[in-house]
C-alpha cells in the first residue's frame, strides 16, 4: 500500500519524475498459485503434449492442401489455417498467452527433434557452451543478423502474396511444408531455435505483440540469478535444455523473444522461475528499429488488408490476385504501394509526429531518434487491437465454413459428422461494427496511457511529458479514425 504525502510546495515543472513511473505492476505467479500447473510444466511431457494436437492438425492441413479440393472455403487447409488458427492466434493466444503458440508450433518440431535426438529425455553432455548433447553443426548465427529484419522482410514478402496464400490450399501447404524443411535445415546447421528467433515470418509479429500479453515467464528474484553460478537456464543441465531462445533469465525483462517452452522452469536449480499473470500491455520498451519497423509493417498490413480483402474495390482485388487475373502490372503497383507504405510512408509520418512531439515538449536533450523509437510502442497495442478488429469478420462471417469442413476436410464430398451440408451463415454481421468500435477504442486507450508511461520515462518534467504526448495521441487518434472509416464509414 502506498502512502500519499501531500506536499505544501507549489508544483514545479522542473521536478524529476523518473522513479515514480517505475512502480511495479501487480503480478500473480501461476506456478505458485496452482501447484498442479507447476508440476505439469516441469514434466518432460509438457511441450510434446502441447505440440501433439497441432501436429495432427498440421498433417491434415498438409494432406488436404496437397490432395484436397482447390476451392479454399471447402478445404480444411484454408479454413483451419486462415480463419480458425489466425483468429485464435491474434485474438486470444497472443493477448492472453504471449508466445505459447511457439511452444506448440509444429514447424520447428522436427528440427528440434533432430538436434535433441529424443522426444522426452534430456541428453547430458557438452555442446559449445551448452551442458546438453546436441546433434548438428551447432554454428553461431551471424551477429549482424541477430535482429528481426529478416523476419520483417520475409513476412512482408509473404503478405504481398496473401491473396493467393489465404485462398489456395496448395500454396498454403507449400509454404507450411517449406517452413518445416527450412526449420530442419537451420536446426542442423545452427544452434537451437535460430529459425524461430531470426527467420520464421510469424515469429516476428508474435514477438512484437507478445509485449502486450497478460502472461510472462520471469525469474522470481534477479538477485538469486546473480548468485547462481551454473546459469542453467541458458546452459541447460540434466533436468532441462538450455534456453532454445538464448535467454538468460537474470536479465529477461521482455516477452519478445521468449517462446514459453518452460525449459528454464525445469532447469533452474533454485526454482526461481515464475509464470506470471500481469496486466495487459505491461511492457513498453521498444529497443531497436527492427522492432519499431515490425510495428509499422503490421499496422500498414492491417490497413492494406482492410482495403483489399474487406473492401469493395474489385480492381485492387484483381491486382492482388494476379495469379488468376494475370494483371501483373497491377500486382507490381499493389506491391509497390504495400511495401512503400509499410516501410517508408507510415514510419515517415510517425517521424513527423515524433519531431512535433520533441518540438512541443521544449526539451533539447532528448533526440528525435529517441522520441521516435520510444513512442513507436504506441503502434503495438493500437496495431494488435486493429488486427483483432480486422480479424473479427473472418470468424464471424466465414466461421460457418469450419462446421462444414470438419465433415468434409478434403472437399471430396465426405460427410463424416453430418455437417458437410451446413450452409454458409454469417453470425450477426451487422453488429460487428459495434465490437470493432469498442476494440479500436481499447487500442487507443492502451496506446495513449502507455505513451504517457513512456513520456514520463523520456522527459524530465511533467510539463514536457504531457506536451510531448499531444502529437503522439493525435497520431493514435488518426490511426483509429482510419480504421473506423474502413470498418464503419
Amino acid at each position: 500500500m502506498r502512502i500519499q504525502i501531500k506536499s505544501k510546495k507549489p508544483d514545479s515543472d522542473e521536478q524529476v519524475l523518473t522513479n515514480i513511473w517505475k512502480k511495479q505492476e501487480p503480478r500473480i505467479d501461476l506456478l505458485k498459485k496452482f501447484p498442479i500447473l507447476d508440476k505439469f510444466v516441469k514434466s518432460r511431457y509438457f511441450q510434446n503434449l502441447l505440440i501433439l494436437p497441432s501436429l495432427i492438425v498440421f498433417y491434415m492441413i498438409l494432406i488436404a492442401g496437397f490432395f484436397g479440393t482447390p476451392v479454399g472455403n471447402k478445404n480444411i487447409a484454408i479454413v483451419f489455417t486462415w480463419i480458425l488458427w489466425w483468429f485464435l492466434l491474434i485474438a486470444i493466444l497472443v493477448p492472453f498467452a504471449s508466445r505459447i503458440w511457439c511452444a506448440m508450433c509444429p514447424l520447428p518440431f522436427f528440427g528440434e527433434l533432430a538436434q535433441r535426438l529424443t522426444f522426452f529425455r534430456v541428453r547430458e553432455g557438452k555442446t559449445g557452451p551448452l551442458k546438453n548433447k546436441m546433434f548438428g553443426l551447432n554454428r553461431k548465427w551471424p551477429r549482424f543478423l541477430k535482429n528481426i529484419w529478416v523476419q520483417n522482410i520475409s513476412f512482408l514478402a509473404l503478405c504481398t502474396f496473401s491473396a493467393v496464400l489465404v485462398t489456395r490450399p496448395f500454396v498454403t501447404a507449400m509454404v507450411l511444408g517449406s517452413m518445416i524443411i527450412l526449420g530442419i535445415l537451420f536446426a542442423l546447421v545452427y544452434r537451437l531455435r535460430v529459425f524461430c528467433s531470426y527467420i520464421c515470418p510469424v515469429s516476428g509479429f508474435l514477438s512484437l505483440y507478445s509485449m502486450t500479453s497478460t502472461l510472462e515467464v520471469r525469474s522470481r528474484s534477479t538477485d538469486e540469478c546473480k548468485k547462481c553460478k551454473s546459469k542453467s537456464c541458458i546452459t541447460g543441465n540434466e533436468k532441462g535444455y538450455g534456453c532454445p531462445w538464448f535467454i538468460y533469465m537474470g536479465k529477461h525483462e521482455r516477452n519478445n523473444y521468449c517462446g514459453l517452452c518452460m525449459e528454464c522452469v525445469k532447469s533452474c536449480p533454485n526454482d526461481n522461475i515464475a509464470l506470471n499473470l500481469r496486466p495487459f500491455a505491461s511492457e513498453t520498451k521498444i529497443k531497436s528499429f527492427d522492432e519499431a519497423w515490425k510495428g509499422f509493417i503490421m499496422l500498414g498490413l492491417a490497413m492494406a488488408y482492410s482495403i483489399i480483402l474487406l473492401g469493395t474495390n474489385g480492381q485492387i482485388k484483381d491486382w492482388a490476385n494476379a495469379l488468376e487475373t494475370g494483371m501483373w502490372t497491377g500486382f507490381l503497383k499493389y506491391s509497390g504501394i504495400l511495401w512503400s507504405s509499410s516501410l517508408l510512408l507510415l514510419p515517415a509520418v510517425f517521424l513527423g509526429f515524433s519531431f512535433l512531439s520533441k518540438l512541443i515538449s521544449g526539451n533539447k536533450e532528448v533526440s528525435v531518434k529517441e522520441v521516435f523509437l520510444n513512442y513507436s510502442y504506441v503502434i503495438v497495442p493500437l496495431g494488435l487491437l486493429s488486427w483483432i478488429a480486422f480479424s473479427l469478420p473472418l470468424i464471424f462471417v466465414n466461421g460457418s465454413y469450419i462446421i462444414s469442413v470438419i465433415s468434409d476436410p478434403m472437399g471430396w464430398g465426405w460427410d463424416l459428422f453430418g455437417t458437410a451440408g451446413f450452409h454458409w451463415q454469417p453470425l450477426l454481421p451487422e453488429y460487428l461494427v459495434y465490437i470493432q468500435i469498442i476494440l479500436l477504442t481499447t487500442g487507443l486507450y492502451f496506446a495513449m496511457t502507455r505513451a504517457k508511461t513512456i513520456s514520463e520515462r523520456l522527459f524530465n518534467t511533467r510539463k514536457q511529458a504531457i506536451r510531448s504526448l499531444i502529437p503522439i495521441s493525435l497520431f493514435s487518434l488518426i490511426v483509429c479514425f482510419a480504421f473506423l472509416r474502413f470498418f464503419v464509414g
Binding site: 469493395t312 480492381q315 482485388k317 451487422e430
Partner: protein
C-alpha cells in the same frame, strides 16, 4: 473499490467526454432527406459487385435487380434478411429470407425498405472461385449514425483520456514531492 478508483482516477471525465462526443457526432450526422424509390441493377462478377457501394437514405425503397456476368454468385445483404442466388444469363434469380430457412423462391426484383441506419455489406453467399470469401459490396444507409457517433465518441474518449492523464500525472507528482 472500483467506484473509488473510478472517482479518484478521474475516469468519469473519460466516460462523460465519450458520451458527449458520441451524442454530438450522432446528432451532427443526422440530417434526413425525403424518402425516395431507387432502381438499382447490381452486376456480380468474380470477385466484385458493380456498383461496389450503394448510398441511400433511411426510409428509401430500393428495387434491386441482380445479374451475374460470369459464374453463379450469391447476394447476402446483412441486416435486411436477404439472400439471393444469381445465375449468369438469366434475368430472374432465387431468393430467400435466411431467418426463415431455405425456402427459395424465384424473383426478378428485390424490394428493400431501408429501415436501419449504418453500413451493411452485401456478400457473395455462393462459392464462386478462389477469392469468393472476400467478394463484397457496401450499402450505406444515411445517416450513418454508428460511424458518426463512433467518430465523436472516440474523439471525446481521446480528449477525456488526455485530460484524465494530465490530472493524474499531477497527483503522482505530489507523491514524489512528499518523498
Amino acid at each position: 473499490m472500483f467506484f473509488k478508483r473510478f472517482i479518484i482516477k478521474k475516469f468519469w471525465i473519460v466516460v462523460a467526454a465519450t458520451i458527449v462526443g458520441a451524442l454530438a457526432g450522432g446528432l451532427a450526422g443526422s440530417g434526413t432527406e425525403a424518402p425516395a424509390s431507387k432502381n438499382i441493377t447490381i452486376k456480380a462478377r468474380q470477385y466484385a459487385y458493380d456498383p461496389p457501394k450503394i448510398i441511400a437514405n433511411k426510409g428509401d425503397t430500393l428495387l434491386l435487380e441482380l445479374a451475374s456476368l460470369d459464374v453463379v454468385h450469391g447476394f447476402y445483404l446483412e441486416g435486411y434478411d436477404v439472400d439471393a442466388e444469381i445465375h449468369p444469363g438469366i434475368n430472374t434469380f432465387k431468393i430467400r429470407k435466411p431467418s426463415e430457412g431455405y425456402n427459395w423462391e424465384t424473383a426478378d426484383v428485390i424490394t428493400v425498405i431501408l429501415t436501419r441506419r449504418g453500413k451493411f455489406r452485401y456478400r457473395c453467399s455462393h462459392t464462386c472461385g478462389t477469392m469468393h470469401p472476400f467478394m463484397q459490396g457496401e450499402l450505406i444507409v444515411k445517416p450513418n449514425t454508428p460511424y458518426h457517433a463512433g467518430l465523436g465518441g472516440i474523439a471525446g474518449f481521446a480528449i477525456g483520456l488526455f485530460m484524465m492523464m494530465g490530472i493524474s500525472s499531477k497527483e503522482l507528482k505530489v507523491v514524489t514531492a512528499g518523498k
